[in-house]
Each structure stands twice: as structure tokens, then as C-alpha cells.
């Protein structure tokens, strides 16, 4: 099945995009939701600021879902939704809209990603604490097995683990451990209904994996996963039917390895990565979506996505890849690779089991991933790992691909956010409030009811009544409590000090003498973007340079950042944003800092298009770092110099910016 991961701006605009993609030969839909929808906030929530319609489509209620699916026959469609914490809600909206189209829920086909453990580990769009999150997943599995039998209620994602730096062994082991946690929870729920139902549940679990550019090893990884999956089904869950035991997976190939420098090289990376998941028939992907060549630059445009779709079509229809049986059968090299990965993965799975399973082992796995990522960056910095166009062969002609005014990316109109906010209030005003209140009260009761009440029933009723995404989530937050996932940075091993880092530590010590205190940096992510790998690596390296690091993690409001900067007395603030909301959020943070009387300089890192840099500098940002700045020690050196000159400036002005607070 061929898809492109798509959605942006508004339900209407995304609907037009889907219809165009379907005309071009795409055979299914893959919906990208915006971050407020993914984390359970309406467009008018403070945290949604700058994020509405950015990385996907905002869906606040059944009206939005109806507009998104307008003219698309849901009975014939296979729809994949990248949605996790709020998956139950979005599935409910989809079911209600299908109902409106006259399609019954047992006809619906598709997938909700619904993998919460990887959200705690890598992606950050969780909404509730681990235990109730796992309950929601189990509820969805129990519901869909009975009522929406063609739906894949969960996609166990190893994709994001690799993006967070996982080695192949970690990717396999953590994904399998995650699957065990989900299946165990589901077994508790449906076990009483007999082995048949458990077989069906097992058969409905699919995976969403990653494929990096080392495509031979990556292919071996997928064969390994297929072996482990079958073993797990037979041994742990007593599954006998070979159809249910088959390892089914979809794939989005690697984005972590895509570069901002010489972005055209990403096309050949994507092609090679696609080979990893298609070459051998015994471990071939069921559905493939390829990233766009310009992902490290900003949001891809329709044309960029078309290019990715065409790659798949060339592979499928021009090459002979689909004409042969498994071409690795009997290969000693492949067998050896698989044996090695199997051994490593089993050992790592045992460690996770010792921690009490995947849910309990989240802090352990998170720390292990931060550590692997730190090691990966170190290899790239030192040149041990070659990245063409970045740390080798970096000389380049000017690129015509990025020569247009917008730098070869999609820019979402900032006015859309205001429109969506207005649309949500119009929706709220136009519905029967008593119905909504009653539905939400029933939802809260159902949430308090514990494991014997399936939350899906009350969720579908709330969707029908016209409740919004924010209301559904807030109702559950009030019952379940809020949660912050472990950051993993505290446990990360230190970077082995090379000459450059030792020298930097000397400079930090000198600066400490000058300041009277150890240089202190605040690192955090404003907004809803949960991709914290970059911020984590900056935090770890700042510590390894000898600084005191206040690591604040994800999902911060401007007010929160300002309060922290003031209370902690930091000398510099480092912010990271990858979702494209920097144009709104960074100036808002700087305003909040000024209001709090904090004058410490601000540096920003993330996916920041070149043409946005002047805007940020004008707002008062001292430096901007993008994926092409892969040398983190160098960034640290800049920051130390920045603090040094800021201290000098403050002294000259006769105003110890950090030593005096607002009166």
C-alpha cells in the first residue's frame, strides 16, 4: 500500500490534498494531526499557540472530521491515523462521521497508531499517566476486536525509537517489550472471552518501523523482528494460526539521517532506505510512506510529497523487485546478521523484563536511548561516521531546489490559527450544551469506573454529542491526573572528553571565576512539540562542558520558561522547536522574559528555515542553530562566549542583569 503522511492547515485544505493524492494513485490515507489535536488541546488553549495546523490538521470535533473526509467513501478507504494519546477520541470521531455517511463501523478499515510507550520514550505527545494510558489502549483493543474488526487498534512503533537514537538491537528489543506490555494488558481485558479472541487480538497488532541507510543490517532487523514476533505469539500467547502469527508492519523510512546540508542527497538516502523494507519478500513492508527530501528544512509541499510517492511507484512498477521469491533465502551473511541481532535483542528484552516490563522500564529505556544518541552524535562530530555533504564532501554549488522565496518548503498561513480558534467557539456556541455536559459527565464516570467499564462507549457518545478534543482530554486529565515523562538526561553517561571538550571545560572554569557562580543554562522546549532529542543532547553536552543545566523538558508555556529563568538565575536560555511554531513562540517567550525582568541571552535550535532567522534575531535571539550545526561542542563554545560577553556588557552598563531582580 502506498501512502504519504499528510495533513496541514485546516480540515478543508487537507481534504483537498487527500483527494488530489488519491487521484495520483495513492491507495490509502495517512492522516497527520496537528500537535494540539495529538495532545488533547483545542486551538484556543494557551499551549496550542503557534501550533495550530502546523505539523498536521486540527480536528476539534465531529464537524472537523466530517469536513476532512468530505467526499471520501469511508467504507472503501484504508485510513492510517498517526494519533496516540487521543487515539480513542479520533477513532470515535471517525466512527461517528462514517455513521453520518451511512457506513457502519464494522466496515471501517485502518489503523490508529495508539502506541503510548514510545510517546513517553521519544515523541512526547502523551496526555495521561502511564497506567490510564495503557487502559485506554486496552479498551480500544477490546472494543475494536468486537465492533470494528477490520481496524488495527494499535501500531507498535519502533520508528520513533530509531529517530531517538536507538541501535537496531534497542529498536527490536524495546518494540517487542512494548508489544508484550500491550498484549498483556489486552489479555487481562479479553482473556475471559476465550483463546479465539486472544488470537484475533494478536493478529490485529501491527508494527510501524524505521529503516536507516545501512540497509542490509536494517533488512536483517526486520527478519529478526518477524522471528521474535512469531515466537512470542506461539510461546507467550498460545497463538497457533499462521495468519495471526505473521509479522505485519508499515514503515516510514528514517528522518534522523536526513540532512539540511545538501538536502538533495536525501533523495538517494530515501531510496536506499526503501530497499531495506522491500528487498526480501519474507520481511517486506505492507505499507510504505517515505519522507520528503526537505524534511530537515521545514514542512514539505505537495510537490515534495509527490516526489516521495513516485519513488515508491518506480520501485514497484519499473524495477523487478516484486517478481522474485525471497532473495536472501540461504544467505549466510543474512543468517549471521539475524542471529547476532536475535541474541542482542533477547538479552535486552530480558533487561526490560527485569525492570518489570516496558511500562516500568520507561526511565531505563529513555536513559539508554539518550545515551545511544549521544554516542551517535559523537561519532559524527569526530568523523568516525561519515555523513556526505555534512561532515565530508561539504563543498557545494548553490542549490536551485531551495532558491525560491520560501526556501523550498511549505509555509502555513499564521492567520489560520485565529480562524480555527473562531471556528471552535462557533462550534461550541452552536451545539446543545446540555447534551455535551451530560456526555462529558458520563465520560468522567466511566473513567472513574475502573477497568470493567470500556471508555470507548462514553467516548463515542461524547463525539456524537459534539464535544471537542480539548474537552474530552480535559475531562480525562481531571480524573487521571497529569504526567511528565522522564527526561533520561540525568542518567546519561558523560561524553568522553577529547581535546576540544577539555579545552572548553577550562574556559567554563575561567568564566565561573568571572561570574562568581558556575555558568547556568536553562534548556527547554516551548509549545507542544515533543521531539526532545536535540534538546536532550544539548543539555547533556552543556553538563559535560562543566555548566549547571536546568533541563525543563517539553511542553512549556512562555510564562513557565520566564518563571524558571528568573527563579533559577540562569545566565543563558536555550530553546528548541522542531514543529515550525518558532515564529510565534520564540517572540512570545522573549516577551515573557522581558516582563519577568530577565535579560539573559536566548539561543534557539531546531528546524528553522533560513528566511526566518532575521525575524528571530529581530525579536532578540542571540543565535540560531539548525540541523546543519551538528558539532555540539562548537555550539557550547559559542554559548560560553555569549555568556562571557553578556557578563561584560552587563558590567559596563552598570546593571548586573543577573544579580538584580525586578523591584
Amino acid at each position: 500500500m502506498m501512502r504519504t503522511y499528510a495533513g496541514h492547515s485546516t480540515a478543508k485544505a487537507s481534504n483537498e490534498l487527500y483527494r488530489r493524492n488519491l487521484q495520483k494513485g495513492q491507495t490509502g490515507l495517512s492522516i497527520a494531526f496537528d500537535l494540539p489535536t495529538q495532545t488533547g488541546y483545542d486551538a484556543d488553549d494557551e499551549l496550542a499557540r503557534g501550533e495550530v495546523g502546523k505539523v498536521g490538521v486540527p480536528i476539534a470535533h465531529r464537524g472537523d472530521m466530517a469536513a476532512l473526509m468530505d467526499g471520501i467513501p469511508l467504507g472503501e478507504m484504508n485510513t492510517s491515523m498517526t494519533i496516540n494519546a487521543t487515539a480513542a477520541w479520533l477513532l470515535a470521531l471517525y466512527i461517528v462521521v462514517a455513521e453520518e455517511q451511512g457506513v457502519s463501523q464494522d466496515q471501517l478499515q485502518g489503523t490508529t497508531q495508539n502506541d503510548i510507550i514510545k510517546e513517553f520514550l521519544a515523541r512526547g505527545t502523551y496526555a495521561f499517566p502511564p497506567a490510564p494510558s495503557m487502559r485506554l489502549i486496552a479498551d480500544m483493543i477490546a472494543y475494536t476486536v468486537e465492533h470494528v474488526p477490520k481496524w488495527n487498534p494499535i501500531n507498535i512503533c519502533s520508528y520513533h525509537l530509531q529517530e531517538a537514537g536507538a541501535t537496531p538491537v534497542q529498536e527490536i528489543a524495546y518494540a517487542m517489550s512494548n508489544a508484550i506490555a500491550v498484549l498483556d494488558a489486552a489479555r487481562e481485558r479479553v482473556g475471559g472471552r476465550g483463546q479465539d479472541v486472544m488470537e484475533q487480538v494478536f493478529g490485529r497488532i501491527s508494527f510501524f518501523v524505521n529503516a536507516g541507510v545501512r540497509f542490509i543490517e536494517e533488512h536483517a532487523k526486520l527478519r529478526t523482528m518477524a522471528i521474535l514476533w512469531e515466537e512470542l505469539g506461539r510461546e507467550r500467547y498460545g497463538v497457533a494460526d499462521p495468519r495471526h502469527l505473521r509479522f505485519r508492519y508499515g514503515v516510514q523510512v528514517n528522518s534522523l539521517g536526513l540532512t539540511e546540508a545538501q538536502p538533495e542527497n536525501n533523495v538517494q538516502r530515501i531510496v536506499l532506505e526503501a530497499l531495506a523494507v522491500t528487498l526480501g519478500r519474507d520481511a517486506r513492508a505492507r505499507a510504505i510512506q517515505l519522507p520528503a527530501w526537505n524534511e530537515a528544512l521545514g514542512l514539505p509541499r505537495p510537490w515534495d510529497q509527490q516526489w516521495s510517492l513516485r519513488i515508491q511507484q518506480v520501485l514497484a512498477f519499473e524495477t523487478d523487485i516484486l517478481e522474485y521469491p525471497d532473495i536472501f533465502e540461504g544467505s549466510k551473511v543474512m543468517e549471521g546478521l539475524v542471529a547476532e541481532l536475535l541474541k542482542g535483542a533477547r538479552e535486552e528484552m530480558a533487561v526490560v523484563a527485569e525492570h518489570g516490563g516496558a511500562v516500568e522500564a520507561v526511565p531505563y529505556m529513555k536513559a539508554a536511548l539518550v545515551d545511544s544518541h549521544r554516542e551517535r552524535i559523537r561519532r559524527i562530530e569526530s568523523g568516525e561516521q561519515i555523513v556526505v555533504g555534512q561532515n565530508r564532501f561539504s563543498e557545494s554549488e548553490d542549490s536551485p531546489l531551495t532558491a525560491d522565496a520560501e526556501g523550498g518548503i511549505l509555509v502555513v498561513d499564521p492567520a489560520l490559527e485565529a480562524e480555527q480558534i473562531e471556528a471552535v467557539s462557533r462550534w461550541r456556541a452552536g451545539r446543545d450544551q446540555a447534551d455535551v455536559d451530560a456526555a462529558l459527565a458520563a465520560l468522567a464516570d466511566s473513567a472513574r469506573g475502573g477497568a470493567d467499564t470500556n471508555l470507548m462507549t462514553a467516548t463515542i457518545a461524547a463525539a456524537r454529542a459534539g464535544a471537542t478534543t480539548g474537552e474530552w482530554s480535559q475531562t480525562l486529565r481531571e480524573v487521571f491526573g497529569s504526567y511528565r515523562a522522564p527526561t533520561g538526561v540525568g542518567e546519561a553517561a558523560s561524553t568522553p572528553p577529547d581535546g576540544e571538550l577539555s579545552e572548553l571545560r577550562g574556559e567554563v572554569s575561567r568564566l565561573q571565576e568571572k561570574l562568581g557562580r558556575r555558568p547556568k543554562i536553562l534548556v527547554g522546549k516551548p509549545g507542544l512539540d515533543g521531539h526532545s532529542n536535540g534538546a536532550e543532547q544539548i543539555a547533556v553536552r552543556a553538563r559535560d562542558s562543566g555548566m549547571d543545566v536546568v533541563y525543563e523538558g517539553i511542553r512549556l508555556t512562555p510564562a513557565q520558561i520566564a518563571a524558571s529563568a528568573l527563579q533559577e538565575g540562569v545566565h543563558v536560555i536555550g530553546l528548541s522547536i522542531l514543529s515550525g511554531s518558532h515564529r510565534e513562540l520564540i517572540p512570545a517567550v522573549i516577551d515573557a522574559l522581558h516582563e519577568a525582568g530577565v535579560t539573559a541571552p536566548v539561543v534557539v535550535g531546531g528546524i528553522i528555515p533560513d528566511q526566518d532567522v532575521p525575524l528571530l534575531e529581530q525579536a532578540g535571539v542571540a543565535a540560531v542553530y539548525t540541523p546543519k550545526d551538528f558539532d555540539i561542542t562548537r555550539i557550547m563554545r559559542d554559548i560560553v562566549e555569549l555568556v562571557d560577553s553578556d557578563a561584560g556588557r552587563a558590567a559596563l552598563a552598570g546593571n548586573g542583569s543577573l544579580a538584580s531582580g525586578p523591584a
Partner: protein
Amino acid sequence: MTADGAALGRRLRERDLSAAPAALNLLESSAPADREQSAQLMREVSPAALGAEAPGHLVGLTGPPGAGKSSLLSALLHVWRGTAHEAGPRRRTVAVLAVDPSSRRSGGSLLGDRARIDFDPADRGVLIRSTAAGERLGGLARATRAAAHALAAAFDLVVIETVGVGQAETEVADVADTVAVVVQPGSGDVLQFLKAGIMEIPDVLVVTKADLGQIATSTRRDLSAALRSLGSAATPVLTVSSLSPPTGVLELAGALEEHRAAVDIHARRLRARRAAALSEFAAEHGEGGLRGLGGRVDAERLLEGQDPGLEVPALVAVLERGIA
């Protein structure tokens, strides 16, 4: 450019909470000019200047990593700030000094506690400050003691949060009015340390994760039995759950307050100030310095003769004049 220590001290004395961040920047600084201003600041918030001991309740919260201190603190903040479901009687202002262990190799540290504590960033009545313990043993950062006492002039509660067990609570006990040791169910260390006399008996013992049920209850029972056999049957042992909805947190806030009401705060803090002055002097001038005062006992006697309202820098100055 150095801040005006006396002015900051006066603002704290007038309970101006917005002076706290700058006061902490100053107290943490080791630059000579800042040390001078720090002494001025401490003079303004000394019992002599206040006319009594600083009114804030100094609470030490300590325990091994993973015991659930941050979640517990979040729940306590809700009670103290009156935002909990089971809210306390009145809103009280709270400063938290979170002390983290440092990475010894690079000297840098990751101060992750702030991210784990859940509070309203717009609430001006809460301040959280993270510091690294640096190379010091015993769990406190160099400036923690001075910071806690200065903030006690302005905040109703000052919580000193440290990591560790068996060592950490000793130094916290020198600073705090009330020390609560936090343990999670099934962790035998604290029980063993208590029995073996490796750790001092805390003022309050807290068993977290009460939602685990049986194991939490039996941990509580074991600790109570150990305390009884050590002759400290009166030491409260509480179980709390920070999971929603939290339980036992209101009772804990009550137990901390009861302890404070029962101890002689002045005597406890006075003893601590003198001990701190002596150890600061010894750190600066060594055994030779102490001999110059006629030995440790004479030095202690010299301190006992001073105004009981003097803060540590003033007491250190007295000792230094003694060898001049």
C-alpha cells in the same frame, strides 16, 4: 557589578518575594565582592535584625533517588498553596531549594528536579531553585544553608530537597527545623540504616506509593517497629500516594507543622548557626586557625559569648578577629 546585599536583605525582611532570585544569585556567588554583600544581606535577615528567628518553617525533605520526592513535593505544594482537592486551611508561600548531585568529572550538573515538580508557573507564591551539591559531601550545596535562612525571612515554608540516605539527612538536619525522610515501599536500606544507627532518626518518616497497597503498609509497619525498638515510638510514620487522587498528603503537612510547634526553634537554629560558623572558619583557616583561637572548645566558647541573633557571616568574622 555587585548587587546591593543590604537592600535585598531588607526587601526579604519585608516579605518581598520578588527579591528572592537576586538574593540567591548573590548568596551563591563566590566572588569576593559578592561575599561581602552576602554578609550584608545575611545581617539584614539575622534574628538580631528581625527581632526573632526568621518566621519561615525550614523543612528538609530527603531520601534515595526514585523514592518519589518530586511527586510528593508537587502534592504538598498543592496543599500549601490551597489548590489541592483536599486543601489546607490557608495559602502559604513556599520556596524550594532542590539540591542535585553533580557530575564529578566535568563539574557540571543536570538539575532535573524542576521539571518533575508540578506547579503553576504564574503563581508568585512559589519559588523553586535548583543547585548542584558540587564536590561537597553531605548533600547540600555551599550556599544552601544561607539561602534557606534568608528565604525563611520572606516565605512561610522553605523546603530543602536533597538526594541520598544515610549521609544526606545529617547535614540537612543541621539546617532544617523538621527533617522528613522519604522512602518507597520495600526499600530495606532505610530500615537497616536506622537499626544500625548509620542514620539519625528523622523527625517524620514518609512511605510513598501507598497505592501499591500491602507492601506500603508492611514497610510502614516495619519502620514503626524499628523506631519503637530504638525508643522513638513518637516519630510519625506516614504513608502517602501522589497518584491522582493523592492521599495522606494533608496528614503529612499536618505532621510537619506539629513537629515544628513542638521543638525549640531558637535553640535548634542557634546551635546550627554556631556549628556552621565553626566549620566555615575551619574550612577557610584550617586546624591552624583553630589552634590560633586556643582550640575547638575555646572557639565554641567564644561563639557562645556572642549575641544569639547574629548570622553566620558575623560569627565567622568574630572568629577571624580572634586570630588577627
